[in-house]
Every structure is written in C-alpha cells, then in structure tokens.
C-alpha cells in the first residue's frame, strides 16, 4: 500500500474492441435520449422554487407531524392548505404554494406576504419551528430561469469553441453532439426522479458537462497523438487503441470523482439531489466518451482524418 499499488483497474495491454459495438452504443444512447425528450415533454421537469416562483416553507413539528392540524392552522390564516406535504423525517412538513397569478397588480407583494401568513399559522402550532422560508416573486423567477439557460447555452458554445480551437472540427462536433446527448439524459433523470430543477441543478449539469468534456479531451488527445504515431492504422483500430490506452485513467478518475460525490448524495442534506445528478452524470459522461463520442468521431472522421490509410492509387 505504501510502495507498489495493490489493485489495478485493467491489466497492461488490455485490448477491448469497443468500436465493434459502436452501433449498439449509439442505438442505446439514442433510445435513452429520445425517451428523455419524451419525458421532458410529458410529464416534464419539476421546476424548483428558483424557476417557478411562489413560496416554500419547511417546518419541523414537535413529534410526528399532524397534517390535519397543520392544514387547520393554515386555513385559520386563509392560506390554501393544498400545498402541505411530508418530506424526509416524520416530523418535517413542507408547505409549497404557487405565486399568485402574475396578472394581478400586487402579485409580488402578495407572494411575499404569503410567507408571513404561513409563519403566523406555524406560530399557532405548539413547538413547531420554521426551518426554512423562501419566497420568490414572478419577475425574479423569470430572470433566474433566463440566466440559468444562458449559462448552460453559453457554456456549451464555449466548450465547442475551445475544442474546435484545440482539435480538428470533427472532434469538436462529435464532442458537442455527445454533450447534448448527455444533457438530454440528465434531464430525463431529473424527470424520472422528480428532483426539482433549479439553479443548483443547473450548476450540477454544468459541472457534469465540464467533467464529461474533460473525459473526452483526454481520449481525443490520445487519438490525436496516435494519429501522428501510427500513420497507416485504420481509424477504427486507432480509436480502439486510444480508448484502451486511456481506459485505466478514465476509470480511475471517474472513480475518484464518484467517490467524492457519493457522501454528498448520502449525507448532503439539501444537496443530496444535486449529488445524485452528479453521480448519474459521471457514469453517463464516462460511458459516453467510449460508446458515443468515439463512434461519432469515427463516422465523421473516417475519410478525413485517415488520409494516409487509403490504399495507394
């Protein structure tokens, strides 16, 4: 443990023929992405408070929560009791209410006043305690949503630009197609798990896109190096070689990032859904480097990148 490593992921000289299964990989990815897009259209993402507006109040009651009592207290303050739900521990209550319709003139003020009404209702419950109380007005939620989408869009463009600058265009295009496929799967994961889509989730998605890009850059770097080294090797074989050579590193780094994010998913309190999305993204990002980005590169680059491999005329 202190000198030579005890364990290894893959033995030296591993040669797995990934490119043979490229159509299976692409087809699986396509099916998952299409399913995700369908899920995105219906039932769609659960928007979090940041993007939806309205109020969220978390209350901890003394002993297991009596929902009837909570609803009655809210009704006493003329607050719609429909948004009362349980979450986490049995003594925790979540009160979630939509913002008043934006058409009314004082909807911002009413959104903010709603929190105070809920607080007054909670104050009538013996021993109950407000853990968290947030209210986001309609104008702010619209801005946050716009900014979140801008951050995502511009990041994708910058990643495209960077890879374009560093590699040939075939690399950039296949990387960005893969990233978009990764992104759709992350969205599908959010729909299936009912995790709320908010700014923190945008951060999670951007982080996994950044991570996924890293992974592709490492494989591409090796492909480029091997293109110079083995000038006559067919591209499929060359990509396979490059994936195999970097496989140990790919798995090693995925593993460390996975291990770092795992405790956050298990004990991370309010960040646990963020961490689960990260974990999902690490698995997707790592596998897409091998099964998606590489086959697309092969399809795009078969003619252009391998000019030397053509039979002499």
């Amino acid at each position: 443990m202190f000198s030579r490593p005890l364990l290894r992921f893959v033995p030296n000289g591993t040669r797995i023929n990934f490119m043979r299964g490229r159509f299976i990989g692409l087809a699986t990815s396509a099916v998952l992405s299409i399913a995700s897009i369908i899920l995105f259209l219906h039932p769609g993402l659960t928007l979090g408070l940041d993007f939806r507006g309205g109020i969220v109040v978390e209350v901890r009651t003394q002993g297991p929560a009596d929902f009837g009592q909570v609803r009655a207290a809210l009704a006493g303050q003329h607050v719609d009791a429909a948004g009362v739900q349980s979450f986490g521990a049995p003594d925790d209550v979540l009160i979630r209410l939509d913002a008043p319709p934006a058409a009314s003139a004082d909807h911002e003020a009413r959104t903010q006043a709603l929190v105070d009404s809920v607080r007054h209702a909670v104050a009538t419950l013996p021993g109950a305690q407000v853990l968290r109380a947030d209210a986001v007005g309609a104008s702010v939620s619209a801005e946050l949503f716009r900014d979140g989408m801008l951050a995502l869009g511009i990041s994708l463009l910058m990643i495209l630009g960077y890879i374009w600058f560093r590699f040939e265009w075939e690399f950039a295009v296949s990387a960005v197609i893969t990233l978009i496929l990764d992104l759709t799967k992350a969205v599908g994961f959010l729909v299936v798990t009912h995790f709320e889509f908010d700014l923190v989730m945008v951060a999670a998605i951007l982080t996994i896109l950044g991570y996924s890009t890293n992974d592709k850059v490492v494989v591409y770097d090796r492909v480029r190096e091997n293109l110079r080294k083995y000038r006559t090797m067919p591209l499929a074989e060359l990509i396979d070689l490059s994936i195999n050579e970097t496989l140990s590193r790919t798995l090693g780094t995925s593993m460390t990032v996975f291990l770092a994010a795992l405790p956050l998913a298990l004990f991370g309190a309010s960040l646990s859904s963020f961490a689960w999305v990260m974990l999902f993204g690490i698995v997707v990002g790592t596998s897409s480097s091998i099964f998606i980005a590489a086959p697309i590169l092969l399809l795009l680059g078969e003619k252009r990148l391998r000019r030397d491999a053509r039979p002499p005329r």
């Binding site: 000198s3 030579r4 490593p5 005890l6 364990l7 290894r8 030296n12 911002e108 903010q112 105070d116 607080r119 305690q129 968290r132 109380a133 947030d134 209210a135 104008s139 702010v140 946050l144 900014d147 801008l150 951050a151 511009i154 990041s155 910058m158 990643i159 960077y162 890879i163 700014l199 923190v200 945008v202 951060a203 951007l206 982080t207 896109l209 991570y211 890009t213 890293n214 770097d221 140990s248 590193r249 090693g252 780094t253 593993m255 460390t256 990032v257 996975f258 291990l259 770092a260 994010a261 795992l262 405790p263 956050l264 004990f267 991370g268 309190a269 309010s270 963020f274 961490a275 990260m278």
Partner: protein, 518 residues
C-alpha cells in the same frame, strides 16, 4: 523536468506553510486586535439568517421629480406674473405640460422656465408643442443620475434602519441598476425588517385646502386618505411647507394628556424656521402631517410654533410609535422599496447543513485517499499529500479574501478534490505505459510529466470555462459553488504540477530506483 532547485523547493514548501498559516484564523481565536485575522464567513445557509432582494420603485423616482418640477414651474410662473392652464405630469414620457394663459405669453413663459435653476444644469428641456402647449422634458442623463442617486441613498437609509434594529453583521449591497440585497445573519424571522424597509417614511407638512372640501380638487391640490380611516379623504395642497427630512431627532413617547403613544420630534434650524413661518402665517387654518401619502393628523394651528418641537399622534401603539420614530430618525427612502425575493434559513437547519457538509467533505476526502493509496501505491500517497495541500490552499485563499462559504461551496471543494487527482492519475498511467514499452524509470517519468501536462491544462481550461459562465450568470449559492471550483482549479494546478511532481522527482533523485512503484 527532472530537477528542482532548492529555491523552487523552498518556495513551494513556503506557499504550503503560508496556506496553513492562513487557515489558522478559522480554527483559533484572535489573540489580539492588532493581529490581522482573516477568516471564512459562513453563508446564510450554514449560519441561518435572512436574505432579502428589494426592488427600488424607479417610476416613483420619476413621478417625484416631476411633481417637484411642476411645483417649481407653478412658483416660477406665478413669481413672474404669468398664468397657466391644464398643468399635468406624464411619468411615462417624463414631462410636465401646461398651456399658457394666452398665446402672447408663450415667449415670456419659455424665458422664465429656461432661467429656472434646474434648467441651467441641463436637467430639463423646454419646448413649445404644435398645439401651443409647453412641454418640460427631463433629460435622460439627469434621470439616470437621479436613479443612481436614489439607489445609493436607499442603501444608506436601509443601512441606518437595519443598524437601528440591532442586527449583527448585516450586509447591504447593490445588485444591478435598481435592486438592493440585504443579508441578515441570525435573523430567522425577517417580518419586522421587511415592514421597516417596506415603509418609505416620507413625512411632509402641507396646508389643508379647506375651501376645496367636498369639491373636486383644483390644480395643485390632491385628495389624500386619512391613515386611520382610509375612506375619509382630505384636500391637501401639493406644495410642501415643511419637509420631514429636516428633523434632528424623533422618539416614541406617551402623550401626557391623552395617555396614548405618540412620536415626538425636533426640527433642525432650517425645519424649525420653516415650521415657525408656516404656523405664524396660517393661524386658524388646518395643516396636515402626511406620511407616505396618507394624512396622519390634520390639527388646527392655534398659534405660531417657534420652538422647533412637535408631536405626532394618530392611534399608535408602542411598537408602531417606536418603529415610526426609528424610521424618522433614519430618514425617508427616496423611493418605495418592495421585497421581490426572500430566503430564510432557521438556525437548526444551518447547523444541520454544516454537519452534512463536514461529514461529506471528510468521508469524500477519506475515500479518495484510500482509493489513491490502493490503486497507485507510493505515487498515490504523493498525490494524497498534494490533495491535502490542495484543501489547505483552498481554505487559505477563501480566508484571505474573507469569502463566504455556503453548502454548495463545500460541494465545490469536494468535487475539486475528486477531480484534482486526475492529474496524478494521468501522470501515473502514462508512466505505466512507458514502463510497459521498456523505457527506463527516468525516461518513463519524464515522458509521463511531459505528455500529461498539456492534457491537464486542457481539461482544467474546459472546467474553468464552464464555471466562469456559472459565476457570471448564477446568483448566491451557485456563484459560491462556481467560485470555490475556480479557486480549486488554480490550487489544483499548483499542487499537481508543482508539489506532487516535486515529491516524485525528489524521491527518485534520493533512491535512484531501478523499478518504479507503478
């Protein structure tokens, strides 16, 4: 590549020791006030507290300005013996319009208005319209300047009001053109603060136009509701006789005669002089104390009040009298503020989050260390030393800038640690490959360092790009996440490209092994 000078070695070690030193203030108490003591601030999500995002009502700034302009126009025209009809303000266009008494007076009107002090400063332009009316338009530059001033002044007033509530470490910052962020650590119920900040507290003294009672108010007179009886309205002259901003003090007190709560106030010399003049000239008439466009009180002036003291009573209780006194002391907001976003974290949830963050950080760090030791042996341990230095340096930089740490920030640190070893893994795997190609240990290490460097730079550059965007477009906790990752990328480059590599090279130079532990 395979040689590190003593100087280089010493500077890398010095940076790491400096990092440890900078971390200390977070764990220890400040020994003396003279010792520089910079530490990380815990964010509201970890500490508990309230975050309020407030919007300054810019329309009202314009409307206010126009009302003053209309009032000034009236005074200027009357002073020059000129007449006017249909004076009106248009907030949307930023204009005051009126029609001259007769077309022959137009030239004289324009001349008078252009000589007004405000016109000289190019604050507005005066022009005649085709229909004969005269339009006074505020210049956009002047309006922008007013708007900026209004926000700056609002921040000052907000700060004074919050300081008066005794809040600890409040943070008040401008956001964008017309917003103010108020952060109040430790305040888990911001209702009173919201109420205090939501009140403009503009107090002015006007004459009541009793002659217009019951009739439709003429120009320069507005019907304002009574504070305690909103259905009841009084015709109040627009002209401000005495401004409530000319106060030196205000305090809540119990009225000796009625036993009710009231607010006593004292004018400064300007206010006292204006108050004395107004009361002397209007004995027997009613004057109104107007607070935020509501009439608090409209007593009859019995005699000139020259002492500069006054009292407002109007059905206050102890809390509302205390609050009004506080608001009057702090001064009026130049424009109404409204809360458009609020987030409050209770103290127990904050404590839970700190615990969750610490456990995650500890367990995640431990898992990565064990993994590196098992899979990469000696070089894995060097990576672990670098990882520890990385953590220390991240905390050091955050402390140095007295940055705020939130739960997402802790997640950022954790992910940085997970990704930081990537560089070591790249180098190690490369060395393994080179060894498999029968290179000597020295050549293999050299090749590993060389080849891995560009890949390391590439992957960190792409991560940096994504997080710069996140920082630019995110708010609050998300920005904090992006910030810690950006700091983490810098510390990662230092610890992996310099520290862990140096450890490997020094080990090699010391032992000259024939077989590398890979």
């Amino acid at each position: 590549m395979m040689y590190y000078s003593r100087l280089k070695l010493a500077s890398v070690v010095a940076v790491c020791l400096l990092g440890v030193l900078l971390c200390l203030p977070n764990a220890l108490r400040q020994p003396a006030p003279t010792v520089p003591w910079r530490q990380i601030h815990l964010g509201l999500d970890l500490r508990g507290g309230s975050y309020l995002l407030m919007q300054v009502d810019m329309n009202s700034v314009t409307a206010d300005r126009l009302r003053t302009l209309a009032d000034g126009t009236r005074q200027a025209l009357l002073g020059a013996g000129l007449g006017y009809r249909d004076i009106a303000t248009d907030t949307h266009a930023g204009t005051v319009t009126f029609t001259p008494r007769t077309p022959s007076e137009t030239e004289a009107d324009l001349k008078t208005l252009r000589a007004m002090p405000m016109a000289v400063a190019n604050e507005f332009a005066v022009a005649q319209r085709p229909d004969g009316a005269i339009a006074i338009t505020l210049s956009p530059e002047a309006m922008r300047l007013r708007a900026t001033e209004a926000v700056t002044q609002s921040i000052e007033i907000v700060r004074r009001r919050i300081d008066a509530t005794g809040a600890v470490d409040p943070e008040i910052t401008r956001q964008g053109d017309d917003r103010i962020v108020v952060e109040l650590p430790g305040i888990s119920d911001p209702e009173r603060v919201k109420h205090l900040l939501g009140t403009t507290a503009k107090m002015t003294f006007h004459m009541v136009q009793d002659s217009a009672l019951g009739a439709i108010p003429g120009p320069g007179v507005t019907l304002l509701p009574m504070m305690n009886a909103p259905d009841q309205k009084l015709p109040i002259a627009d002209h401000v006789d005495v401004d409530g901003s000319d106060l030196t003090n205000a305090s809540a007190a119990i009225d000796q005669q009625t036993g009710e709560w009231a607010v006593d106030f004292t004018f400064d010399s300007v206010g006292a002089r204006a108050f004395a003049a107004t009361t002397r000239a209007n004995v027997g008439r009613r004057f109104a104390i107007v607070l935020d466009n509501k009439v608090v009180q409209a007593p009859v002036i019995r005699s000139a009040i020259t002492g500069g003291n006054g009292q407002i009573s109007g059905g206050f209780d102890a809390q509302s009298a205390t609050d009004l006194a506080l608001l009057l002391r702090a001064g009026a907001l130049p424009a109404p503020l409204s809360v458009i976003e609020q987030r409050t974290i209770g103290p127990s949830l904050g404590a839970d989050s700190i615990r969750a963050g610490m456990i995650s950080l500890g367990v995640g760090f431990g898992l990565v260390i064990v993994f590196m030791a098992l899979f990469y042996g000696r070089f894995g341990w060097y990576a672990n030393v670098a990882l520890l230095a990385n953590l220390v340096l991240m905390v050091a930089i955050l402390s140095l800038f007295q940055a705020t740490l939130t739960l997402p920030g802790m997640a950022g640190m954790l992910l940085t640690l997970g990704m930081a070893v990537d560089a070591n893994i790249l180098i190690n795997e490369r060395i393994r490959e080179e060894i498999a190609r029968n290179r000597t240990p020295l050549a293999a290490m050299q090749a590993g360092f060389e080849r891995a460097t560009s890949t390391i730079l590439d992957s960190n550059a792409t991560a940096l790009l994504a997080h710069i965007m996140l920082f630019a477009f995110g708010t609050g906790p998300v920005q904090n996440f992006a910030l810690t990752i950006m700091i983490g990328i810098v510390t990662t480059l230092f610890t992996t490209l310099l520290l862990s590599r140096m450890l490997m090279v020094r080990w090699y130079a010391r032992t000259r092994p024939t077989v590398l532990p890979v």
